[in-house]
């Protein structure tokens, strides 16, 4: 299959996935128990005031009409206006998006940077002490829950040792280089929490695929040709083992985004995740729809890029 057609098909699938996510989000929000007017108004609101609010939100119209209007606006690039803040949803999201990108990219980078060496270490020491240690770390990592890890880290490094801040993305009143330092210090705990819960599956997958790769004929041949173990491991086996790991990164992006919601909430990190939490509490449908659309698009785009990269790395994928 030509590369252009391959990319086109992936794009088509991506657009369909985003439409599906948008539709499911739209319907699920309206199936939720609760009334956005009640969530934002005071307890002494009159029935007339409540009805006026529902009209203002466009929730007085039949569901199908709401859906068609929403899709129409979406195609024009209009995500709507926040119920509670009365400002465009895009503004709300763009304020928060950079922080989520910074957090997830850092966590993803740390996962890869720490995960590959650990996986290699375990595979090359298969059955020995290091292998067992890495496996224990990997399995433990799989069982960790972001809020639990976050609270422990906050207590130890934020309160007891006082090394790192408790919450937020940076300190007020700092500028220039000091600001970057502040951003970095605030990023450490959320990024480490998110990395710790992502690391387990990555390390275990890396280990398993590398062990498989090390059992392949080309590795035996390389050994017979006198190549050093280190060269065989890092230059030949690892490159082949990276293919499934690349897929896993794409798959993990979804979990990473989900984890960011919890992480940002625990650390009061001002990203999209924290915004989603607040929008859920306030039943702010437009913000939730916009946020989920953005996250779905991010995950779909990342998966598409992974697919396409995979296509380049492994010609058999394009053929299939």
């Amino acid at each position: 299959m030509p590369l252009a057609l391959f990319i086109l098909r992936r794009l088509g699938r991506g657009v369909f996935t985003i439409w599906f996510a948008v539709t499911v989000t739209f319907l699920l929000l309206r199936l939720l128990p609760g009334d956005p007017a009640l969530a934002v108004a005071s307890t002494n609101m009159t029935e007339e005031a409540r009805a006026a609010l529902l009209v203002q939100y466009g929730l007085d119209k039949p569901l199908f009409v709401q859906y068609v209007l929403y899709l129409g606006e979406l195609l024009r690039g209009n995500l709507g206006v926040s119920f509670t803040q009365s400002v465009p949803v895009l503004d709300v999201l763009l304020h928060r998006l950079p922080w989520t990108l910074l957090l997830t990219a850092t966590a993803l980078g740390l996962t890869v940077l720490v995960g590959i060496p650990l996986g290699v270490l375990a595979a090359s020491a298969k059955g020995r002490a290091w292998d067992r240690v890495v496996q224990v770390v990997g399995v433990t990592g799989q069982s960790l829950f972001v809020p639990s890890v976050g609270i422990v880290l906050l207590f130890v490094f934020g309160l007891t040792l006082g090394w790192l801040p408790i919450g937020g993305a940076y300190d007020q009143g700092v500028y220039g280089v000091e600001w970057y330092g502040s951003v970095l210090s605030h990023l450490v705990l959320p990024a480490v929490s998110l990395t710790l819960v992502q690391l387990g599956p990555y390390v275990l997958t890396m280990r398993a695929t590398l062990i498989d790769a090390l059992g392949e004929d080309y590795v035996t041949l390389a050994r017979a040709n006198g190549l050093t173990s280190r060269r065989i491991l890092w230059k030949h086996a690892l490159r082949n083992a990276l293919l499934p790991a690349t897929t896993l990164i794409g798959l993990q992006l979804g979990f990473l985004v989900g984890g960011a919601v919890l992480t940002e909430t625990v650390f009061a990190y001002p990203g999209i995740g924290r915004g989603i939490y607040e929008a859920v509490v306030q039943l702010d449908f437009p913000v939730l729809q916009g946020a989920f659309l953005l996250l779905a698009a991010t995950v779909v785009a990342a998966n598409m890029l992974t697919d396409i990269a995979y296509g380049f790395l492994d010609p058999r994928v394009k053929a299939s």
Binding site: N44, T46, A49, S86, H95, G167
Partner: protein
Amino acid sequence: MRHNKPAVVGAALAAALALAACAPQAPADPDEGGSGATAGDDTLTIATTTDVVNYNPLIGNSRSDYWVTNLMYPHLLSIADDGTKEASLATDWGYVDETTGFYEIRDDFTWSDGEPLTADDVAWTLNAVKEDAPAGTFYGQMANFESAEAVSPTRVEVRLTQPDTSVIEEIGFWGNVVPQHVFEPEGSVAQFANDGSDGWVSAGPYLLTDVQPGQSYTLERVEEYPLVEGGTPVPAQVVYRVYPDVNTEILALQSGEVDVIANALPPAQVEQLRDTEGIEVAEVPGLGYAHMVYNMDHPDLAKTEVRQALAHAADYETIREVVLQGQAVSTGSSPLMPVLSQYYDDSVTEYEFDPELSRSLMEEAGYTAGSDGMFPVTFRLLYSLQDSVTSQWAQLVKDSAAEAGIAIELQGLERNTYLAKTDEGDYDIYAGNFAIMDDPVTNFTLSYLPDGAINYTHVDDPELTELVTQASRTDGDEKVELMREAAKIVHEQVYDNVMYTQNLYVAHSSEWDGFVVKPSELLSIVSAESVAAAHRVSE
């Protein structure tokens, strides 16, 4: 593998530029905005658990909305510990005749853009709220408001649709005054976001200058604020920082990241923080109550004896001692709480916990207990899982009711579902609480009159309605007597089961002092007057 060095360097440069664009710029002149001779240079950092949702105080409804916008938009009246109203922007208020009220306001308030705050701003605000019906608490007070007129630069007269001796004080306390010259060009006050696209304008002690959603709200001192000693607020800057919950706020206070926790402390944390070095705990009078309401649309609960049986089947003393750790007072099972000293009637006493009496009342109502000692009824008690205190005592209520042979099924729900079910009347017993019930007539009108927005009992008692209606048209001792009579009916008929008023506690760093304590969590030590007067101890 060969690295494409120019690409890597280019990417690094692009990333650095992108980050550089994000870095905030240092203010050109740190002293810009002015500071009086007695004012300090400190920043007071206050922790909150929610973002500011609305910068328009006429719409805002969350705690953070109130706390931040109250630093910019003055109220006509403030409140004393016993619920009586005090002067703030208004120096005098009352009635010209039965259907005309008035406010006399100060002449020394100025908006931060230099425009004077006059009676025109007050009258325009009141009329705009009535006309546009924004979804905040303010509009809910305006049922009998018809119109307002500025009859002089310092006097506003209010026309009422019918006699109402509470409305002038209630509007004065709950409503903020906004600048007409900023809000009027924006159209409906119900839809104006006031999100600071062109900056904010303040007549309070501080002006919002920087917003980082999800993280912080920074306010800078304004030069003149007449309600603070010396005329200039003491802290140069106030920063509200957002944390996920009170527990994280406490960590931040202990680590010195914040100076004040605006939210009331959970009862279990109060004693621990009192013993923590470097932290002060301030007691704040409560002006609300926690209660259980029995839905009279339910045929069993429509019987007075059944409601009385339920009222005598809860151990209130244990709830206050165990769940609230003694940080609550009995109201005598009356909505006229002791804190409302003018209205409180000590002849009305709390429903005694007496399972045997409950059983007798159930039998009187025509029920017979089975061989297991249980009556053939089950009531569903609805409460919000976000309310940790109610969630705890709901279990105690269930256990003590079982002693009286009455089965209660607990239904703890997520807040929005809880609100929806409450609104639909989909409960047998409703458990919840009110933060501020400062005016008995308003409270009774909303809670016990047929069209009341929070009439969760669904009560329609003509005698009670008549008493409350009469009270809304009288004043002084006569009004108090009428309300006491009304409260007796509520108590006897168990139209409401008021369980306690919670004493509230807030924490601040011992490095700060000078706070002015006001009742309720909304005001506590973070009212405009309090924040403007706070100072570092070392100063």
